[in-house]
Symmetry: C2
Protein backbone atom coordinates (compact mmCIF):
# COMPACT_ATOMS: atom_id res chain seq x y z
CA UNK A 1 0.00 0.00 0.00
CA UNK A 2 1.12 3.52 -0.72
CA UNK A 3 1.41 6.30 1.67
CA UNK A 4 -2.01 7.61 2.71
CA UNK A 5 -3.91 9.37 -0.01
CA UNK A 6 -4.79 12.94 -0.65
CA UNK A 7 -4.14 16.16 1.06
CA UNK A 8 -1.08 16.37 3.17
CA UNK A 9 1.97 18.01 1.70
CA UNK A 10 3.41 18.23 5.13
CA UNK A 11 2.16 15.85 7.80
CA UNK A 12 0.42 18.65 9.67
CA UNK A 13 2.26 21.76 10.49
CA UNK A 14 0.16 22.82 13.44
CA UNK A 15 -2.83 21.47 15.23
CA UNK A 16 -6.08 23.36 15.10
CA UNK A 17 -6.19 24.12 18.80
CA UNK A 18 -2.66 25.40 18.61
CA UNK A 19 -3.61 27.83 15.88
CA UNK A 20 -6.63 28.95 17.83
CA UNK A 21 -4.61 29.54 20.94
CA UNK A 22 -1.92 31.44 19.08
CA UNK A 23 -4.48 33.78 17.63
CA UNK A 24 -6.22 34.18 20.91
CA UNK A 25 -2.98 34.99 22.68
CA UNK A 26 -2.01 37.52 20.06
CA UNK A 27 -5.36 39.22 20.33
CA UNK A 28 -5.18 39.24 24.11
CA UNK A 29 -1.69 40.68 23.92
CA UNK A 30 -2.96 43.52 21.76
CA UNK A 31 -5.71 44.23 24.25
CA UNK A 32 -3.28 44.36 27.13
CA UNK A 33 -0.96 46.56 25.14
CA UNK A 34 -3.78 49.00 24.49
CA UNK A 35 -4.93 48.89 28.09
CA UNK A 36 -1.72 49.14 29.97
CA UNK A 37 1.33 49.36 27.77
CA UNK A 38 4.16 46.96 27.22
CA UNK A 39 5.71 46.93 30.67
CA UNK A 40 2.90 45.20 32.49
CA UNK A 41 2.58 42.60 29.80
CA UNK A 42 4.18 39.72 31.64
CA UNK A 43 3.98 36.12 30.55
CA UNK A 44 1.95 35.19 33.60
CA UNK A 45 -0.46 38.03 33.14
CA UNK A 46 -0.97 37.23 29.49
CA UNK A 47 -1.59 33.56 30.22
CA UNK A 48 -4.05 34.38 32.93
CA UNK A 49 -5.96 36.97 30.94
CA UNK A 50 -6.15 34.58 28.03
CA UNK A 51 -7.31 31.82 30.31
CA UNK A 52 -4.45 29.55 29.33
CA UNK A 53 -1.47 28.03 31.03
CA UNK A 54 1.86 29.75 31.19
CA UNK A 55 3.47 26.79 29.50
CA UNK A 56 1.29 27.33 26.48
CA UNK A 57 2.41 30.89 26.10
CA UNK A 58 6.02 29.84 26.08
CA UNK A 59 5.37 26.98 23.75
CA UNK A 60 3.81 29.36 21.24
CA UNK A 61 6.27 32.20 21.40
CA UNK A 62 9.36 30.87 23.02
CA UNK A 63 10.23 34.08 24.72
CA UNK A 64 8.74 37.33 25.82
CA UNK A 65 10.28 39.19 22.95
CA UNK A 66 8.82 36.53 20.69
CA UNK A 67 5.36 37.80 21.40
CA UNK A 68 6.16 41.28 20.27
CA UNK A 69 8.03 39.92 17.34
CA UNK A 70 4.95 37.96 16.33
CA UNK A 71 2.78 41.04 16.68
CA UNK A 72 5.15 43.03 14.54
CA UNK A 73 5.32 40.32 11.91
CA UNK A 74 1.59 40.36 11.79
CA UNK A 75 1.46 44.09 11.16
CA UNK A 76 4.33 43.85 8.75
CA UNK A 77 2.60 41.53 6.35
CA UNK A 78 0.74 44.33 4.59
CA UNK A 79 3.91 46.35 4.39
CA UNK A 80 5.80 43.47 2.83
CA UNK A 81 3.16 43.04 0.22
CA UNK A 82 3.51 46.65 -0.82
CA UNK A 83 7.21 46.12 -1.24
CA UNK A 84 6.93 42.88 -3.13
CA UNK A 85 4.06 43.66 -5.43
CA UNK A 86 2.68 47.12 -4.74
CA UNK A 87 2.93 50.13 -7.01
CA UNK A 88 6.29 51.79 -7.71
CA UNK A 89 8.48 53.27 -6.51
CA UNK A 90 8.09 51.08 -3.43
CA UNK A 91 7.03 48.06 -5.42
CA UNK A 92 8.69 46.71 -8.55
CA UNK A 93 8.85 48.80 -11.68
CA UNK A 94 10.90 51.77 -10.61
CA UNK A 95 14.69 52.10 -10.90
CA UNK A 96 16.47 50.36 -8.03
CA UNK A 97 17.82 53.55 -6.53
CA UNK A 98 14.34 55.01 -6.32
CA UNK A 99 13.07 51.82 -4.79
CA UNK A 100 15.84 51.86 -2.23
CA UNK A 101 14.97 55.38 -1.21
CA UNK A 102 11.30 54.57 -1.09
CA UNK A 103 11.93 51.46 0.93
CA UNK A 104 13.84 53.33 3.59
CA UNK A 105 11.19 55.96 3.83
CA UNK A 106 8.46 53.35 4.13
CA UNK A 107 10.28 51.35 6.74
CA UNK A 108 10.97 54.42 8.81
CA UNK A 109 7.31 55.30 8.71
CA UNK A 110 6.24 51.81 9.57
CA UNK A 111 8.52 51.43 12.54
CA UNK A 112 7.73 54.83 13.95
CA UNK A 113 4.07 54.04 13.71
CA UNK A 114 4.54 50.77 15.53
CA UNK A 115 7.20 52.03 17.80
CA UNK A 116 5.91 50.64 21.05
CA UNK A 117 5.76 47.11 19.74
CA UNK A 118 8.97 47.53 17.82
CA UNK A 119 10.73 48.66 20.90
CA UNK A 120 9.48 45.81 23.01
CA UNK A 121 10.35 43.34 20.29
CA UNK A 122 14.05 44.06 20.48
CA UNK A 123 14.48 43.74 24.20
CA UNK A 124 15.68 40.22 24.83
CA UNK A 125 19.00 39.11 26.12
CA UNK A 126 19.77 37.49 22.81
CA UNK A 127 22.22 38.97 20.36
CA UNK A 128 20.64 41.97 18.73
CA UNK A 129 22.35 42.58 15.48
CA UNK A 130 20.70 45.52 13.85
CA UNK A 131 19.03 44.12 10.80
CA UNK A 132 18.92 40.49 11.75
CA UNK A 133 15.63 41.23 13.43
CA UNK A 134 14.32 41.67 9.92
CA UNK A 135 16.28 39.58 7.50
CA UNK A 136 13.75 40.79 5.01
CA UNK A 137 15.08 44.30 5.10
CA UNK A 138 18.57 43.12 4.47
CA UNK A 139 17.58 40.76 1.71
CA UNK A 140 15.57 43.36 -0.09
CA UNK A 141 18.36 45.88 0.07
CA UNK A 142 20.79 43.26 -1.11
CA UNK A 143 18.67 42.50 -4.16
CA UNK A 144 18.25 46.12 -5.10
CA UNK A 145 21.98 46.69 -4.79
CA UNK A 146 22.50 43.79 -7.15
CA UNK A 147 20.49 45.58 -9.77
CA UNK A 148 22.66 48.66 -9.74
CA UNK A 149 26.00 49.38 -11.36
CA UNK A 150 28.21 49.80 -8.32
CA UNK A 151 31.53 48.71 -9.64
CA UNK A 152 33.53 46.29 -7.55
CA UNK A 153 31.96 46.01 -4.13
CA UNK A 154 31.18 43.41 -1.51
CA UNK A 155 27.43 43.63 -1.89
CA UNK A 156 26.67 41.35 1.02
CA UNK A 157 28.62 43.46 3.43
CA UNK A 158 27.26 46.63 1.90
CA UNK A 159 23.72 45.37 2.41
CA UNK A 160 24.40 44.70 6.06
CA UNK A 161 25.92 48.13 6.42
CA UNK A 162 23.01 49.89 4.82
CA UNK A 163 20.49 47.91 6.83
CA UNK A 164 22.29 48.95 9.97
CA UNK A 165 22.52 52.53 8.77
CA UNK A 166 18.79 52.54 8.25
CA UNK A 167 18.00 51.02 11.60
CA UNK A 168 20.56 52.85 13.68
CA UNK A 169 18.95 56.27 13.77
CA UNK A 170 15.58 54.61 14.23
CA UNK A 171 16.70 52.66 17.25
CA UNK A 172 18.15 55.81 18.68
CA UNK A 173 14.88 57.57 18.12
CA UNK A 174 12.78 54.73 19.42
CA UNK A 175 14.69 54.47 22.64
CA UNK A 176 15.08 58.15 23.31
CA UNK A 177 11.54 58.94 22.37
CA UNK A 178 8.82 59.76 24.82
CA UNK A 179 7.19 56.39 24.99
CA UNK A 180 6.64 57.07 28.65
CA UNK A 181 3.82 59.57 28.89
CA UNK A 182 0.74 59.12 26.77
CA UNK A 183 1.67 60.51 23.40
CA UNK A 184 -0.79 63.26 22.55
CA UNK A 185 -1.16 62.25 18.96
CA UNK A 186 0.08 59.51 16.74
CA UNK A 187 2.32 61.59 14.54
CA UNK A 188 3.94 63.21 17.50
CA UNK A 189 7.13 64.25 15.78
CA UNK A 190 6.86 64.34 12.09
CA UNK A 191 10.13 66.17 11.89
CA UNK A 192 12.31 63.45 13.32
CA UNK A 193 11.01 60.83 10.95
CA UNK A 194 11.41 63.22 8.08
CA UNK A 195 14.92 64.05 9.10
CA UNK A 196 15.89 60.40 9.24
CA UNK A 197 14.25 59.82 5.88
CA UNK A 198 16.21 62.65 4.29
CA UNK A 199 19.37 61.30 5.84
CA UNK A 200 18.66 57.91 4.35
CA UNK A 201 18.07 59.36 0.93
CA UNK A 202 21.27 61.34 1.09
CA UNK A 203 23.30 58.38 2.25
CA UNK A 204 21.99 56.06 -0.40
CA UNK A 205 22.54 58.58 -3.15
CA UNK A 206 26.09 59.12 -2.03
CA UNK A 207 26.80 55.42 -1.91
CA UNK A 208 25.21 54.67 -5.25
CA UNK A 209 26.30 57.51 -7.47
CA UNK A 210 28.46 56.30 -10.26
Amino acid sequence: MDRPVLPVGEPHAERADAVRNRRHLLATARDMLADEGADTLTMDALAQRAGLGKGTVFRRFGTRAGIFHALLDDDERAFQEQVLSGPPPLGPGAPPLDRLIAYGRARIGFLIEHREIARAALDGSQPIPAGSQTPLSQTHIRILLGQMPLGPADLDVLAVQLTAALDGPLLLYLSASDLTGAAPQTGARPQTGERIARGWQDLVQRVCRT
Copy 2:
Protein backbone atom coordinates in the same frame (compact mmCIF):
# COMPACT_ATOMS: atom_id res chain seq x y z
CA MET B 1 41.11 81.26 54.98
CA ASP B 2 40.91 79.61 51.65
CA ARG B 3 39.27 76.39 50.88
CA PRO B 4 41.06 73.47 52.52
CA VAL B 5 44.45 72.93 51.12
CA LEU B 6 45.60 70.57 48.47
CA PRO B 7 43.74 67.83 46.76
CA VAL B 8 40.00 67.99 46.46
CA GLY B 9 38.47 69.42 43.33
CA GLU B 10 35.14 67.84 44.05
CA PRO B 11 34.05 67.22 47.62
CA HIS B 12 34.67 63.50 47.26
CA ALA B 13 33.47 61.67 44.26
CA GLU B 14 33.89 58.23 45.72
CA ARG B 15 34.94 56.80 48.99
CA ALA B 16 38.15 54.84 49.23
CA ASP B 17 36.49 51.56 50.13
CA ALA B 18 34.13 51.99 47.21
CA VAL B 19 37.03 52.36 44.84
CA ARG B 20 38.72 49.35 46.32
CA ASN B 21 35.60 47.27 45.97
CA ARG B 22 35.01 48.33 42.39
CA ARG B 23 38.50 47.32 41.44
CA HIS B 24 38.24 44.08 43.30
CA LEU B 25 34.93 43.25 41.64
CA LEU B 26 36.30 44.03 38.21
CA ALA B 27 39.31 41.84 38.81
CA THR B 28 37.15 39.04 40.13
CA ALA B 29 34.90 39.36 37.11
CA ARG B 30 37.89 38.95 34.81
CA ASP B 31 38.92 35.86 36.68
CA MET B 32 35.50 34.34 36.37
CA LEU B 33 35.38 35.23 32.72
CA ALA B 34 38.65 33.47 32.13
CA ASP B 35 37.61 30.47 34.19
CA GLU B 36 34.12 29.86 33.00
CA GLY B 37 32.95 32.29 30.38
CA ALA B 38 30.33 34.98 30.49
CA ASP B 39 27.25 32.85 30.98
CA THR B 40 27.98 31.65 34.46
CA LEU B 41 28.95 35.11 35.60
CA THR B 42 25.86 35.91 37.65
CA MET B 43 25.54 38.75 40.07
CA ASP B 44 25.22 36.37 42.99
CA ALA B 45 28.20 34.34 41.95
CA LEU B 46 30.32 37.42 41.45
CA ALA B 47 29.37 38.81 44.83
CA GLN B 48 30.08 35.54 46.54
CA ARG B 49 33.42 34.96 44.83
CA ALA B 50 34.46 38.50 45.63
CA GLY B 51 33.36 38.04 49.22
CA LEU B 52 30.97 40.97 49.05
CA GLY B 53 27.24 41.48 49.24
CA LYS B 54 25.04 41.42 46.20
CA GLY B 55 23.80 44.89 47.03
CA THR B 56 27.33 46.17 46.62
CA VAL B 57 27.66 44.70 43.19
CA PHE B 58 24.49 46.40 42.07
CA ARG B 59 25.44 49.64 43.69
CA ARG B 60 28.70 49.66 41.78
CA PHE B 61 27.49 48.60 38.37
CA GLY B 62 23.76 49.04 38.37
CA THR B 63 23.11 46.14 36.10
CA ARG B 64 24.67 42.98 34.83
CA ALA B 65 25.50 44.54 31.51
CA GLY B 66 27.08 47.37 33.46
CA ILE B 67 29.84 45.07 34.61
CA PHE B 68 30.80 44.12 31.11
CA HIS B 69 30.50 47.68 30.04
CA ALA B 70 32.92 48.67 32.77
CA LEU B 71 35.34 45.96 31.73
CA LEU B 72 35.18 47.10 28.16
CA ASP B 73 35.68 50.73 29.09
CA ASP B 74 38.72 49.69 30.99
CA ASP B 75 40.22 47.93 28.00
CA GLU B 76 39.17 50.74 25.74
CA ARG B 77 41.17 53.40 27.46
CA ALA B 78 44.36 52.55 25.64
CA PHE B 79 42.53 52.43 22.36
CA GLN B 80 41.02 55.85 22.94
CA GLU B 81 44.39 57.29 23.63
CA GLN B 82 45.69 56.06 20.32
CA VAL B 83 42.80 57.77 18.60
CA LEU B 84 43.11 61.03 20.45
CA SER B 85 46.83 61.46 20.49
CA GLY B 86 48.55 58.52 18.87
CA PRO B 87 50.41 58.53 15.58
CA PRO B 88 48.55 59.04 12.30
CA PRO B 89 46.60 57.89 10.48
CA LEU B 90 44.65 56.76 13.54
CA GLY B 91 45.72 59.71 15.60
CA PRO B 92 45.65 63.36 14.53
CA GLY B 93 47.77 64.53 11.65
CA ALA B 94 46.41 62.57 8.74
CA PRO B 95 43.63 63.69 6.38
CA PRO B 96 40.19 63.07 7.87
CA LEU B 97 39.22 60.42 5.34
CA ASP B 98 42.31 58.42 6.14
CA ARG B 99 41.62 58.78 9.81
CA LEU B 100 38.06 57.61 9.32
CA ILE B 101 39.22 54.50 7.52
CA ALA B 102 41.88 53.84 10.11
CA TYR B 103 39.40 54.34 12.91
CA GLY B 104 37.02 51.78 11.51
CA ARG B 105 39.76 49.28 11.05
CA ALA B 106 41.03 49.81 14.55
CA ARG B 107 37.62 49.55 16.12
CA ILE B 108 36.86 46.36 14.25
CA GLY B 109 40.09 44.88 15.47
CA PHE B 110 39.48 45.98 19.01
CA LEU B 111 35.98 44.62 19.24
CA ILE B 112 36.84 41.33 17.64
CA GLU B 113 39.66 40.93 20.07
CA HIS B 114 37.36 41.63 22.99
CA ARG B 115 34.39 39.92 21.49
CA GLU B 116 33.29 37.94 24.50
CA ILE B 117 33.09 40.97 26.73
CA ALA B 118 31.67 43.10 23.95
CA ARG B 119 28.94 40.64 23.37
CA ALA B 120 27.99 40.36 26.99
CA ALA B 121 28.04 44.12 27.36
CA LEU B 122 25.21 44.64 24.96
CA ASP B 123 22.79 42.14 26.40
CA GLY B 124 20.48 44.01 28.74
CA SER B 125 16.82 44.64 28.33
CA GLN B 126 17.46 48.32 27.94
CA PRO B 127 17.28 50.04 24.59
CA ILE B 128 20.25 49.01 22.54
CA PRO B 129 20.82 51.64 19.93
CA ALA B 130 23.80 50.62 17.89
CA GLY B 131 26.36 53.25 18.58
CA SER B 132 24.95 54.63 21.76
CA GLN B 133 26.93 51.99 23.57
CA THR B 134 29.93 53.99 22.57
CA PRO B 135 29.05 57.63 22.16
CA LEU B 136 32.74 58.06 21.61
CA SER B 137 32.64 56.31 18.29
CA GLN B 138 29.84 58.48 17.10
CA THR B 139 31.42 61.67 18.33
CA HIS B 140 34.73 60.92 16.74
CA ILE B 141 33.13 60.11 13.42
CA ARG B 142 31.06 63.25 13.64
CA ILE B 143 34.13 65.38 14.17
CA LEU B 144 36.01 63.84 11.28
CA LEU B 145 33.03 64.34 9.01
CA GLY B 146 33.01 67.98 9.99
CA GLN B 147 36.53 68.34 8.69
CA MET B 148 35.64 67.13 5.23
CA PRO B 149 34.06 68.89 2.29
CA LEU B 150 30.80 66.98 2.00
CA GLY B 151 28.51 69.55 0.54
CA PRO B 152 25.13 69.97 2.14
CA ALA B 153 24.50 67.10 4.52
CA ASP B 154 23.00 66.43 7.91
CA LEU B 155 26.25 65.52 9.57
CA ASP B 156 24.68 64.43 12.83
CA VAL B 157 22.45 61.93 11.14
CA LEU B 158 25.25 60.82 8.88
CA ALA B 159 27.46 60.18 11.88
CA VAL B 160 24.79 58.00 13.44
CA GLN B 161 24.37 56.14 10.20
CA LEU B 162 28.05 55.48 9.79
CA THR B 163 28.43 54.41 13.37
CA ALA B 164 25.64 51.94 12.87
CA ALA B 165 27.11 50.80 9.57
CA LEU B 166 30.38 50.14 11.32
CA ASP B 167 28.81 48.28 14.21
CA GLY B 168 26.18 46.36 12.27
CA PRO B 169 28.40 43.81 10.57
CA LEU B 170 30.37 43.47 13.77
CA LEU B 171 27.33 42.67 15.82
CA LEU B 172 26.29 40.15 13.26
CA TYR B 173 29.71 38.60 13.41
CA LEU B 174 29.90 38.68 17.17
CA SER B 175 26.58 36.96 17.61
CA ALA B 176 26.99 34.38 14.89
CA SER B 177 30.54 33.61 15.79
CA ASP B 178 31.65 30.51 17.57
CA LEU B 179 31.83 31.91 21.03
CA THR B 180 30.61 28.59 22.27
CA GLY B 181 33.47 26.16 22.03
CA ALA B 182 36.89 27.20 23.16
CA ALA B 183 38.37 29.16 20.32
CA PRO B 184 41.55 27.45 19.21
CA GLN B 185 43.46 30.65 18.76
CA THR B 186 42.84 34.31 19.28
CA GLY B 187 42.87 35.37 15.68
CA ALA B 188 40.48 32.62 14.72
CA ARG B 189 39.12 34.23 11.57
CA PRO B 190 41.29 36.90 10.19
CA GLN B 191 39.30 36.87 7.00
CA THR B 192 36.02 38.01 8.47
CA GLY B 193 37.55 40.97 10.22
CA GLU B 194 39.43 41.85 7.08
CA ARG B 195 36.31 41.61 5.00
CA ILE B 196 34.41 43.93 7.30
CA ALA B 197 37.33 46.33 7.30
CA ARG B 198 37.42 46.43 3.52
CA GLY B 199 33.69 46.97 3.47
CA TRP B 200 34.08 49.89 5.81
CA GLN B 201 36.77 51.45 3.71
CA ASP B 202 34.70 51.08 0.58
CA LEU B 203 31.60 52.53 2.22
CA VAL B 204 33.38 55.52 3.62
CA GLN B 205 35.13 56.26 0.35
CA ARG B 206 31.84 56.13 -1.48
CA VAL B 207 30.15 58.42 0.98
CA CYS B 208 32.96 60.94 1.08
CA ARG B 209 34.09 61.23 -2.49
CA THR B 210 33.49 64.69 -3.80
